[in-house]
Amino acid sequence: MSGAKTKGNKKKGNGNSDAVPVEPPRLIPNAQNSQIAPPETSPVGSVASSTAISPINSNSNSSPKRQKQPKEPRSLEASLFSPATAPVIAVASATVVATIPEKKFKDMTPEEQRIFKEKGEAEKLAKKLAKQQQKGGTKQQPQEQQQQQQQQSQKQPKQSSSTSAVATQPNSTNSNSTTTASLNSLGASSNSLLSAQLSTNNTMTPPPLLTTMSSQAANMRAASQIRFDDVRHQKRAVVKGRTLAQKPVALLAHLTQFEKSGMGAARTIQLMDGQQQRNNNMVHPAVIALGVQFSEFIISGGIARCVAMLAAFKRVIADYVTPPGTAIQRNLNSYLSKQIDHLTTTRGLAQTMKFAIRQLKSEISNMSIEISDEDTKVHLLHSIDTFIKERIVSAHESIVEKALEKVKHGDVILTFGRSAVVERLLIEAAERKIDFRVIISDARPKLEGKVLLRRLVALGVNCTYVLVTSLGAVMSNVTKVIIGASALLSNGALLSRTGTAIVAMMAYDAHIPVMVLCELIKFSELVQLDSFVWNEIGDPDELVNIKTQSPANVLPSVLTPPNQENNSQSKQPILKEWRDIPDLKLLNLHYDITPAHFISLVVCENGCIPSTSVLSVVTNMKLEEEKNLKKTTLIR
């Protein structure tokens, strides 16, 4: 394919060297371009050096039918009821058809499959940016988030100066800087802040206010990431190096749905290096490795991820060298933000991680300017250690102590999946020789409970292992349910691995108490009513893999005659060719919401509270944070 070779040249690289800031990232063969736009309106001859993407952007006049507004009033209905993909894509589907290869997905080689998936993302992005460009000439700025506007207003004068050398375009400078700015915003917002600081003589910008930082932190689950169906947010929510899902589920059109690009981590890193030339030397290798571990689920779970992230950040801080002309207290935060943004591209941040980041950043900002860099680093490393010790290790001890009062001889404890603190509780109970049984319920496709099963059996605990669908059969034996959390929301709801809600529901129906063990760092001020408001959508192919099925298990029944079953089911995955069936979509949710009334008790390090009191705890915690901030600001 002609487009394949151009993958290395990403727009940012070209934007720096060449006079073309307005390219979308990807490749569409020329033949299609001529369908969409007459090439003579392409901005500059230098475009020819990269492959022919720009005709799409600069052309705003041709093909008037493509200038339709993104059907806002219809989009809600469409996203609820239409079987197709997000509405915007349907507009350009006619022109895109020409390039979709005739062969079916299953017949392609892996390389072709990868290209096919990536093209899907590329074309969508191209369309979005084309639309953006059409509006960019008329309006001053597209509506952006508040934080974007704040920093935009700060760096606009600097930005236009840095791009003045570049501005030989017929396009207005406004749209240039706008587009460049909006392209930049694909990375961190503070990326541009940093570059602004570096490129101009240092104007000693004031330290980012804590309110800005915390609003950034609160917006880390940024509005753009739950507004993927809004065109203006789409490009911001799209992440480099990850392929958009080919067949997104309409019910969750407001969330970005990715899938594995099929090439694994190495290719992703290579892609990133090519794309983010400016950021190339900005992401610490420890963080890159961490990102891979996150995306492959090698490290999973709120506490594990938080600890791993902090360990990586310790290395980042230790290796950090303050650029000349800046101070560590100002600069380290933005440097860390770049690492965090990289992590966000691999997997969304957990509540624990957000809390830790907030603490760390406020710690950094509060460091006095008189302290030397070395001492600052030492102090920061020490404060990270203290955080882990206080907020995680000692919190676990405290929670386990309180929870152990509730575990009695003869108890049959039901748990779901694998939670770090629940595991500690059960291990501690086993070591104290309490006579109890554990029923571990688990669910596909993650099957995380098997690890807990092995650990407990090694300690001699009497364990039963059951899939979450079979809970009806074992519920009559259960005396209490103990589960862990990913986050506790302010409306008392529990955000946890999908399947937890089923366990809590069955316990509630059977009048069995449900106990949630949750550290304070997981308490969140967010609110969610159901599992659709926000969720993490995993790789759909995980559902296809059904290795565990064995012929002995299938009860020959209802439809398939006996001679057919054993051949088809035990060998091949049933849905191997799901991509070729247009009406079939796979949805692999990672989280679900357990309503507050299912939960009887929440045990945190401060004590045992009902789930409805989460809001007051969260408010208290915020007050504490602000008090601490005020204290240190005063001292300075």
Binding site: G472, I502, F532, L559, I574, D592
Partner: protein, 300 residues
């Protein structure tokens, strides 16, 4: 005669004949052979011999309640035909051959009804499924599949199917429905509660319906019905008439039918000492409490 019955008993025990539909048909066939071929003097004698054979069949596979259902229906047919003959002829006695032929005809009618039951149920699809609904289902059931496909011929709606591990019959259902131009989303069983907030209706199939209205249904039906109850979503159960049983669930776990744990925790993937130390529960069927079911749709 005994060989025919014994043949079916063996096949039932080995699960070569399984599922209510197949069991019902085979039982009816065997009873027809008994009526035609065995030695009996009058209706009562015939009914008694049918009952004995039926008990044998039921004992072969206790969970296949269709065997007893069909047996009871055949006995009912015998009595009814006897009554009819007496009413027609007026005399106390009647021709044995007449009774035999009538009973065999009646059994043939019953067999036809069994075979058409899925078509009859699915003809009611348009009354229950409307445009732009989101319907959730589980596992693979012939009646549900046909029902949804019938409705899809006219109306546009979405279906969410839970994959129903470890049999993955839900995946087969998703495949089959999506190939008939129905918009299908496949979810893992764990997400059943998570997506339930958007579901308008739950449509389930069942293996058998017990005397109190409870269901013996594929594993997972219990949690899907319980989740639907929490969201006040109607649960519609498609049940052909031969699945209605007179058994009362005194012991709720009796119909669980535990299957090999290998599918859940593979023998190959864990060590010997771990295998010793754990229990794995892998029932084929769930018992669903009658309170959770909103509506039964039958082929009547």
């Amino acid at each position: 005669m005994n060989t025919v019955v014994q043949n079916l008993v063996d096949r039932l025990r080995r699960r070569q004949v399984a599922g209510s539909f197949r069991v019902a048909l085979e039982t009816a066939k065997v009873h027809a052979i008994i009526v035609r071929g065995s030695r009996w003097t009058d209706a009562a004698d015939l009914a008694a011999s049918i009952a004995v054979k039926g008990a044998l069949l039921q004992a072969a596979q206790p969970v296949e309640l269709a065997a007893t259902n069909i047996t009871n229906r055949v006995i009912g047919l015998i009595r009814e035909e006897e009554r009819n003959l007496i009413a027609d002829s007026g005399a106390a006695s009647f021709n044995r051959d007449d009774l035999k032929n009538n009973v065999i005809d009646a059994i043939k009618e019953m067999t036809d009804e069994i075979e058409n039951s899925v078509a009859n149920i699915s003809s009611q699809a348009l009354e229950h499924i409307h445009s732009n609904e989101i319907i959730m289902t589980l596992g693979m059931d012939a009646a549900v599949e046909r029902f949804l496909k019938e409705a899809a011929k006219l109306r546009k709606f979405q279906v969410i199917v839970a994959e129903t591990a470890p049999s993955y019959s839900g995946q087969q259902m998703a495949l089959s429905l999506s190939q008939s131009n129905i918009d299908v989303t496949l979810i893992s069983d764990a997400s059943i509660f998570a997506v339930m907030s958007r579901v308008n209706k739950v449509i389930l199939g069942t293996h058998a319906v017990l005397a109190n209205g409870g269901l013996v249904a594929p594993t997972g039906s219990n949690i899907i019905a319980a989740a639907a109850k929490h969201y006040a979503t109607p649960v519609v159960v498609l049940t052909e008439l031969y699945k209605l049983s007179q058994e009362y669930p005194f012991d709720v776990d009796a119909f669980g039918v535990p299957m090999s744990p290998d599918a859940i925790v593979g023998f190959a993937e864990i060590d010997a000492d771990v295998v010793e130390g754990i229990d794995v529960v892998n029932p084929a069927y769930d018992f669903v409490v009658p309170d959770l079911v909103t509506l039964f749709i039958t082929n009547m």
